[in-house]
Amino acid sequence: MLVMPIIFLLPGHREEAGMGNFGVAFAGGYLGMAPLFALNLLQYSQQWQAADVFRVAPMPGPAPLCAGARQAVTCFLTLPLVLGFALIVWCLHGETTNLALLLPGLITLPIFTLVPHLGGRSVPFSRAGEEAKSTRRGLDFFVVMLLSVSLSFLTTWSWDAGWFWWLLAGEVAVAATAYAIMRVSLASMRWPSMD
């Protein structure tokens, strides 16, 4: 999964018009997607029936479990990735100004971590491993990738056009609103019946 942004960051692609900036923006978008896929995968387990213990426990809904999963993914996966990519960008480009291009992708990161849990889904270890092969996952991947690529294009364009910081401000406002709504929705979520 991480191969694509690295390819875009490589020096050969940098020489092409605009590809250097696009590569950095694309890496940022990919970093935003990483927790989404990790959390999505974390819901599958061979011992999914053991997750009944979560449902029997006196918890109003899956929100505390989802929060724990988010924290784990952020600490053990996302942060090291962000640092690693920042280092790669800095090494390859030799300047720190381009690092700002990672920001639009990183701003979407909190939203992407919440998306898998909306509607009480993606409770950790609660679904059979076989369901991981569901074809819907491929489609989800495609949609998210499309969004990420679009954001990368937008970022590159705004960077070249000179209104990158306006884009960032707008994105922060939209992302904060969406994040707040999603958090409220998740906190009020109750366990769905196992029908």
């Binding site: 387990s45 061979q46 011992q47 999914w48 029936q49 053991a50 009944d52 213990v53 979560f54 449902r55 029997v56 426990a57 006196p58 918890m59 109003p60 270890f125 076989e130 369901e131 092969k133 569901s134 074809t135 819907r136 996952r137 491929g138 489609l139 495609f142 949609v143 499309l146 366990w191 019946s193 196992m194 029908d195």
Partner: protein, 616 residues
């Protein structure tokens, strides 16, 4: 302590629990009995808050199940039937996790855990050092029971608690629940082991088909019914006696059932396999998940997702449509088609893993050739559906392009269909090769690699020709690329015909060369008298209704007769051959018998190979 008032649960149209009403006081051990599917586990899941009742109410310790769910959960301990635990945790880690879920302080939890491990004769070192995956089933069950009792609940539900416990542990467990009852806890004990229930429980509830049939003390119920034992009473109530009666009749009926077996209609087993494969494929799920999703919903979901994507991608492309970007729009369309290929690949992979389940669902062993044939045909069929759907939108979108030539719809249609065929061929062949080289266990690991290869192949097959010469059909490189694509597709079609040829005299294989390609797939029906049609002066060279000359066929091809392949599998083993009355397959002959028969009677009919009365 527990009060159920008309508790009901429906799953769609099916009634799982039908208005159960009862009161259970504190300190009572209640045996909850019923045959499989009676609604025991559903009732227990409702009482633990895992399932929402359709109607009716229940209170536990005075808390309403639906209003005060959290309070109910605090007062309930549940040992599920599965006894599943997270195997990558140690026993202690698991128990501490459960304690944290119930907000039990760490010190208190540790003390309680030590109390239980001493009772169950588990060593603390095992609990701290070994992962649960390394525990025996009985040890895991003990950990699960400990987890359920860790928060000292006043009500405990046990669903088949003795499953996996050895005799000593079972005796210990019975002593434990009696101790718990003496402490004033209410125990609801669901089990199939009736003598244990009879000895341990103060009261018995028997349910069947969701209805409560009997409620009372075991001795009193047995005495009142005159059944003698609880087991006999149980079988009388739940239809077990009827099963016993039928068992005798079944033994008498069995020979006549096999006598009545007739040869299946030609192609029927293949059709059944294809139907099964298609069903599994469309659901994108394994056979185990059959009940989870219905087909129309699944198809609608998949198609709507794919079309939505297509519209999104197409709209993006059209928004920027200028002459140079026209190619980009084509490329994006192709990229969506590639996604479609991956989509198919993922579904196909899912189904491929379930050959054993296909055996079970079809009530007979499935040969790998038959399975491969079914996969190819079904995947081609679905690919063409998808290609058709894409074409409709793609053609209209393409016609809106200002520089589109008049031939655009035609080329678009041909390219997309070819691409779908090509992609499908790669998917099936790729999976088959992986299955052979890596084995079923490791296939899952290489699935992603195969998908990537399929994607690359589809890109090469479909996108390169488009990008090279879509706008100018007369360009030589376009002709070359189209020819290359046709050749590649022909390989796939050839593969399909090879599979068909294995059906022998029923479906006539296409001959080599162009005439064969035209006639591929025509069906030669045997004449009324059973003599197969053969090449003769009248139809020689016309390529129609030909049957392969047995003299020119390989021995393997001679043996492969319709519906003969399946019984052959059974005939190879020393096990008694099973003939499914459902499919009415005829008795099989061994390979040696068939070889001898075909040597002596090259014009023999299919029935000759299968019917015992016609043996030479």
């Amino acid at each position: 302590m527990i009060s159920l008032q008309q508790l009901t649960k429906h799953f769609g149209g099916q009634i799982a629990v039908d208005g159960i009403t009862c009161e259970i006081p504190a300190g009572q051990i209640v045996g909850f009995l019923g045959p499989n599917g009676a609604g025991k586990s559903t009732t227990l899941k409702m009482l633990t808050g895992m399932l929402a009742p359709t109607s009716g109410t229940a209170t536990i310790c005075g808390f309403d199940l639906q209003r005060d769910t959290l309070e109910v959960k605090r007062n309930v301990g549940f040992v599920p039937e599965s006894g599943a635990v997270f195997e990558s945790l140690t026993g202690l880690e698991y128990l501490e996790m459960v304690a944290a879920l119930y907000a039990i302080p760490e010190a208190a939890a540790r003390a309680r855990i030590e109390q239980f491990i001493a009772f169950f004769d588990l060593s603390f070192a095992t609990l701290t050092d070994k992962l649960l995956g390394a525990y025996s089933k009985g040890m895991r069950r003990k950990v699960v029971i400990t987890a359920a009792l860790l928060h000292n609940p006043p009500v405990v539900f046990f669903d088949e608690p003795l499953d996996g416990l050895d005799a000593n542990a079972a005796v210990g467990f019975k002593a434990l629940i009696q101790t718990l009852a003496r402490e004033g806890k209410t125990i609801v004990y669901s089990s199939h082991i009736l003598d244990v229930v009879e000895r341990v429980c103060d009261r018995v509830l028997i349910i069947d088909k969701g209805k409560l049939l009997l409620d009372g003390e075991p001795e009193a119920l047995v005495a009142a019914s005159g059944a003698g034992t609880l087991e006999r009473l149980f079988t009388q109530l739940t239809g077990g006696t009827e099963l016993e009666r039928r068992r005798g009749g079944f033994r008498e009926d069995l020979p006549s059932m096999t006598d009545r077996a007739r040869p299946a209609a030609p192609g029927a087993p293949d059709r059944a396999l294809r139907r099964l494969f298609l069903t599994l494929f469309l659901r994108g799920r394994s056979a185990r998940g059959l009940r989870r999703q219905n087909v129309p919903q699944s198809i609608a979901l998949k198609l709507s997702w794919t079309l939505l994507l297509y519209v999104a991608v197409g709209s993006m492309a059209l928004a920027f449509l200028t002459a140079p970007v026209f190619r980009l729009s084509i490329y994006l369309h192709g990229a969506t088609m590639v996604l479609c290929g991956m989509f198919i690949a993922a579904s196909a992979g899912e189904v491929l893993f379930n050959k054993e389940e296909a055996d079970i669902l079809l009530h007979r062993p499935v040969t790998s050739q038959a399975l491969l044939r079914a996969k190819i045909i079904v995947l081609l069929q679905v690919s063409l559906w998808l290609a058709g759907a894409f074409n409709l939108v793609g053609t209209f979108a393409g016609l809106m392009a200002p520089d589109a030539s008049a031939l655009f719809p035609l080329v678009h249609a041909i390219s997309t269909v070819l691409e779908a065929l090509f992609c499908t061929g790669f998917v099936v062949l790729g999976y088959e090769l992986c299955l052979r080289f890596f084995g079923r266990e490791r296939l899952e690991g290489v699935m992603t690699t195969v998908q990537i290869l399929v994607t690359i192949a589809a890109v090469l097959a479909g996108q390169v020709p488009r990008l090279l010469g879509y706008a100018n059909l007369r360009a030589p490189h376009r002709r070359v690329s189209v020819v290359a694509q046709l050749v590649a597709t022909r390989v796939v079609c050839r593969f399909r015909r090879c599979a068909r040829r294995e059906r022998g005299g029923q479906v006539v294989a296409a001959g080599r060369g162009r005439s064969g390609a035209r006639d591929g797939g025509r069906v030669a029906r045997p004449r009324e008298n059973g003599t197969p049609l053969r090449d003769g002066p009248a139809n020689a060279g016309r390529g129609e209704r030909r049957t392969p000359d047995p003299a020119r066929q390989t021995p393997l091809a001679r043996h492969h007769r319709p519906y003969a392949a399946l019984p052959l599998v059974a005939a190879q083993s020393d096990q008694p051959r099973l003939v499914s009355p459902h499919h009415q397959l005829p008795p099989a002959r061994s390979r040696r018998q068939i070889a001898r028969l075909s040597r002596h009677r090259p014009d023999a009919r299919d029935a000759d190979y299968l019917s015992p009365s016609r043996s030479p």
